[in-house]
């Protein structure tokens, strides 16, 4: 067995999954009332759907998906801005593949712009975008920097390399988000009644376990940092049920093989060097203070918002309830467009595009298992 599989497989082990499922079932019988837990991270949403974990849980433990799919929470106006840049004759856009099919205003998308002849490249890493800038010095190469605390240090590292190389034609359009403000907003949302969070494992690698102390202190919700294998996720659910039963919310780190108390200081220093907090729009959650990151003024020459373009008034798709899905207020099938005009082949809302989007994950993995309502 390869060394990497030897590390991964034990966390998928069927005996452990079954024992944890039984443990969760037993713990659920002593709950005083039904509880609602939220997995915040889109990668968790995808992992939970792919393993069918939602249907292994007892009926009084509801697990809802949160706003942690970066593509899904990217608002229409960001995509409109990217499209306006793509229309410039001297601009090459570089983007993660997820963003290509996300609907902008008037059902336009990067994919459609690319078909019209715009110079748009799908990249795997911010470093690949840097490479495009190196090989095409006559083009302005703009990287669409969409992501949370996990991804933004990689963008900062690419910017540091661009500075070191004196690469003047590398720029970014920041659409980045940070996780604390929405966690606070969701914990306080009276419609949701959240009892606990499964915290995003890879954001936690960067910010560290101690970062979440505000949840215990200010929000009084149960919380556990968990990895992405079925054993990790079920351990997290059991831990949240324990905290809820005992009435003692805390933040438990159950992903200690990669998450430390202090997190990745090198990555945070790099992030801090290039970025500062700013108010930003979230699809579904609206404008949240200090929930985004923008380039610091001294890096203005790297900021694609300084390029002059005309921006149309943003237009949200009609009938789409991505917003309510992202808040965990409704499950995807409750949206009138779900599988009735909106599907992964022809997405209308952002949540149907990314494999991490709640609607796409539900459509692919849970539609038939769950029946209509759920």
């Amino acid at each position: 067995m390869s060394p990497v599989r030897a590390l991964r497989d034990p966390f998928h082990h069927r005996s452990r999954v079954e024992a944890l499922r039984q443990q969760v079932g037993e713990m659920a019988t002593s709950l005083a009332r039904p509880v609602t837990l939220m997995e915040v991270c889109g990668t968790h949403t995808h992992a939970i759907a792919a393993a069918g974990l939602r249907h292994l849980l007892p009926a009084n433990v509801r697990l809802v998906a949160g706003p942690g799919c970066p593509v899904c929470v990217t608002p229409v106006d960001y995509l409109d801005h990217a499209l306006a840049l793509a229309a410039q004759p001297d601009v090459t856009l570089c983007t993660f593949g997820d963003l290509m099919r996300v609907p902008a205003s008037r059902r336009d998308s990067l994919e459609r712009a690319s078909a019209r002849g715009a110079d748009i490249r799908v990249v795997y890493s911010a470093r690949d975008a840097l490479q495009v800038a190196r090989t095409r010095p006559q083009r302005k190469v703009v990287f669409l920097a969409v992501g949370f605390e996990t991804t933004m240090p990689t963008v900062a590292a690419a910017l540091a390399e661009a500075e070191a190389l004196g690469l003047a034609n590398f720029m970014i359009l920041s659409g980045s988000k940070v996780i604390e403000p929405p966690l606070r907003a969701l914990a306080a949302d009276p419609d949701l009644h959240l009892d606990g969070f499964l915290l995003p494992g890879h954001v936690s690698v960067i910010v560290g376990a101690d970062f979440y102390d505000f949840l215990r202190r200010d929000c009084r919700v149960a919380a556990a940092i968990v990895g992405f294998a079925p054993v990790d996720i079920l351990r997290g659910v059991a831990e949240l049920l324990r905290q809820i039963s005992e009435g003692r919310p805390q933040v438990r780190n159950l992903y200690a093989r990669v998450v430390t108390a202090a997190g990745n200081r090198t990555a945070r220093a790099m992030l801090h060097e290039f970025f500062e907090p700013t108010d930003t729009n979230w699809r579904g959650l609206g404008r949240i203070a200090s929930s985004g990151l923008r380039l610091r003024p001294r890096w203005k020459h790297r900021d694609a918002t300084s390029l002059p373009v005309e921006l149309p008034a943003p237009l949200e798709p009609r009938g789409c309830r991505c917003g309510d899905v992202l808040r965990g207020a409704i499950a995807p099938p409750a949206c009138p467009l779900f599988a009735r005009g909106c599907d992964p082949e022809h997405p209308i809302g952002a949540c149907m595009v990314s494999s991490e989007g709640s609607c796409a994950a539900w459509y692919r993995h849970e539609r038939h298992a769950a029946g209509a309502g759920a």
Binding site: V4, G42, P153, T154, R257
Partner: protein, 88 residues
């Protein structure tokens, strides 16, 4: 999109490294994880190592879990919810 994969670091050149997963090799950046050494397992996100994986911690987690739940990892239950068990 916060997907990150464990990879095995097989070579290092200053702030770049070669990493391997299931026969696939990639050049990755070590700018965000300068403490990584050849032989380490690192967590890779979008072309950058973002953490070393603590293998001893992973083993301790599993040992504690098995002790708490009474799981024998050598016994694998049948798919129908563990009615029968067999030795692999």
């Amino acid at each position: 999109m916060c997907l990150a994969l464990p990879m095995h670091l097989t070579a290092r050149r200053e702030f770049e490294g070669d990493a391997e997963l299931g026969g696939v090799r990639r050049t990755i950046s070590l700018l965000l994880c300068p403490e990584a050494n050849v032989g380490d397992h690192v967590l890779v996100h979008a072309g950058y190592a973002i953490a070393r994986i603590d293998r001893a911690e992973a083993e301790a987690t599993l040992a504690l879990l098995d002790a708490t739940l009474g799981v024998d990892p050598d016994v694998v239950p049948e798919p129908a919810h563990g009615a029968q068990a067999r030795r692999p």
